[in-house]
């Protein structure tokens, strides 16, 4: 099966043609068990499941939100990648989409939302403002959300094209598929208080 594809690491029931072709070529335990049992590593099957079922929390503060709506709508259709359902409670979400400029006034709220999410959780920095502050190099704006919370994928752009976001999402899926149990828990955001 194709590496990184939907069936990676999983021996799922095959079609009739495949069964006819593959019969007799199986070896070892697969020969004994046939098609009745799934064989994989637990890490891999959990990663595979997770990467196609992101429940995203849209933390939308600015104009990038328009691009996010186009992405979630039928034309670009985030549903194709298994992340269709935005959850508006952080406790039900595992992918924090930070979409737009984060001001210093907003920063404690972002960290609170991140800390409220249950693990495992990932953070997607959508657009250049969330990534680095963008051109808002001033008194009001956080210069990148990675000064506050850990970020998994950065997608720059003002706003990013939907294709860029989809590419970022696929990269995040690859990352999630490779994660192991020992990667979790990560704990609270590194910044919970001003030092």
């Amino acid at each position: 099966m194709e590496k990184g594809g939907t069936g990676m690491g999983i021996n799922i029931a095959m079609s009739n043609e495949q069964r006819a072709m593959g019969a007799g070529q199986e070896e070892g335990i697969e020969k004994v068990l046939g098609n009745s049992v799934l064989l994989t590593k637990l890490d891999e099957i959990i990663g595979w499941g997770r990467k196609y079922s992101f429940f995203l929390y849209p933390f939308i503060t600015a104009c990038c939100g328009m691009e996010f709506m186009s992405l979630a709508g039928p034309r670009y259709d985030l549903d194709r990648f298994g992340s269709a359902l935005p959850r508006f409670s952080p406790r039900q979400a595992d992918l924090l989409m930070v979409v737009g400029t984060i001001s210093h006034k907003q920063a404690p709220i972002l960290v609170k939302v991140y800390n409220q999410m249950t693990e495992p959780k990932w953070v997607f920095s959508f657009g250049v403002c969330a990534t680095s502050g963008g051109f808002y190099d001033n008194y009001a704006t956080v210069q990148g959300i990675d000064t506050l919370i850990p970020v998994d994928v950065y997608v720059p752009g003002c706003p990013p094209r939907p294709e860029m976001v989809i590419d970022g999402l696929l990269k995040l899926q690859q990352k999630v598929a490779k994660e192991r149990w020992s990667d979790w828990p990560r704990g609270e955001a590194p910044v919970t208080k001003n030092k």
């Binding site: 210093h104 006034k105 920063a107 404690p108 960290v111 001033n138 008194y139 009001a140 956080v142 210069q143 990148g144 000064t147 506050l148 910044v191 919970t192 208080k193 001003n194």
Partner: protein, 162 residues
């Protein structure tokens, strides 16, 4: 310019000869610079005079002319829906007495505009019922749109001072 002078500036000069510091009317945009002590009664007159009826306060903001005396200027943009006229009123405010009268008694819509000017420029509007920061957070020190506010003056609530 007297023959071309608009009714607004003409009436203002007639009614408040001692309050008007200067007027000009560049390409039809009327501007009157007035003393800050008289802003409230001038606003009331502009709103209530039957030939003016400036019933819409479109904008209120401030300017920092750093290095000039008086340093600040509060700018009011008014519009008369009835007569389709606009006028700009400017009030110089010195740094030593950084206050002016709130015009909420005339246009209640000035509330948040005055809070914004207070937040970003530190101009105190006397008589404002709730003069506190509107955009920034309470912990913020100083007024960031003043020209002497440091360019890198960041005051994060949380996280590093980047």
């Amino acid at each position: 310019m007297t023959a071309m002078e608009s009714i607004t500036l003409k009436k203002l000069k007639e009614r408040f000869p001692d309050s008007i510091i200067d007027t000009h009317s560049f390409r039809g945009d009327d501007t009157a610079i007035v003393k800050k002590e008289d802003i409230l009664k001038i606003c009331k007159f502009l709103r209530d005079d039957n030939e003016l009826l400036y019933n819409f306060m479109m904008d209120l903001t401030a300017v920092d002319y750093y290095g000039r005396e008086p340093r600040f200027e509060v700018v009011y943009h008014l519009y008369s829906l009835k007569y389709n006229m606009r006028v700009r009123i400017k009030v110089p405010v010195p740094e030593s007495d950084c206050t002016t009268d709130s015009i909420i008694p005339v246009w209640i819509g000035a509330d948040w505009f005055e809070r914004e000017a207070y937040d970003l420029y530190g101009i105190i509007f006397k008589g404002h019922p709730n003069l506190k920061r509107i955009l920034l957070y309470e912990e913020f020190e100083g007024h960031p749109l003043r020209k002497d506010y440091p360019v890198r003056g960041r005051q994060p609530l949380i996280g590093p001072k980047n």
